[in-house]
Symmetry: C2
Subunit: 140 residues, 2 copies
């Protein structure tokens, strides 16, 4: 399951990527346009600012803006920042690896190899899709 955090984060990023200029957009503007609780969105945008996806400006005329071109923002990176590991089990995670307590031997675990295949498939999408690809959805 994708958390609302990630879903909202992606929607907010897409909203920003759709802007014609790079002027800061206020949280309230995004939250109203995308039907997201403003306070919750606040924390999500803050996370993405700290992770280097967004810049912010305080005070009047302030808000958030993309720091990079939407063609350079890889969804795999956004996903890992907001959601965490892409793998469904920690023992097949590339970036968040953890050994399973119940498996004496990963090579012999039947679930392990299956989850590697699922991970690789998901990864191939998220590593090759960029924020820009989400902007124009209609022609999908």
């Amino acid at each position: 399951m994708l958390s609302r955090k990630t879903k909202y984060g992606l929607k907010a990023l897409t909203y920003l990527a759709r802007q014609e200029d790079t002027r800061p957009v206020q949280i309230s503007t995004i939250s109203e346009a995308e039907n997201i609780s403003q306070k919750f969105l606040e924390s999500i945008l803050l996370t993405m600012r700290k992770s280097g996806f967004l810049g912010s400006k305080k005070g009047k005329g302030g808000g958030y803006y993309l720091l990079k071109d939407a063609r350079e923002i890889k969804l795999a990176e956004v996903y890992r920042t907001l959601e965490g590991p892409i793998a469904m089990v920690p023992c097949v995670s590339l970036n968040f690896y953890e050994k399973c307590e119940d498996c004496p031997n990963e090579e012999e675990c039947s679930v392990h190899s299956l989850m590697i295949r699922v991970r690789d498939n998901t990864l191939s999408i998220l590593e090759n899709t960029y924020l820009h690809d989400l902007i124009s959805v209609k022609q999908d």
Copy 2:
């Protein structure tokens, strides 16, 4: 994230599929072999019996056994029984569809089409992998 329930369930099914004959195997045997809490495994096996994957026999010499050949048990079905929807968001789920409250229009949602692609990829694996494919893991 894959729940332990599903992980344990898959391991237990694999264990049963590896048996030479179809004689019932006790919960305790499986739980010890696979390092799974016996009581927890009990409820998982019960779920799978009710879903038609397993048969059971009470009393001495009792236990659980596969009702079908491991070549006929599709992992997608097991997954849906134990874990629930394969899709990461309910609005792209084939078997557990639900509309998002925040989206006025699914067609315009940037996350929607992405999640359809992820779902289709995962689905292609789970619909084409059978329990039997998990038995021999080494030669993967």
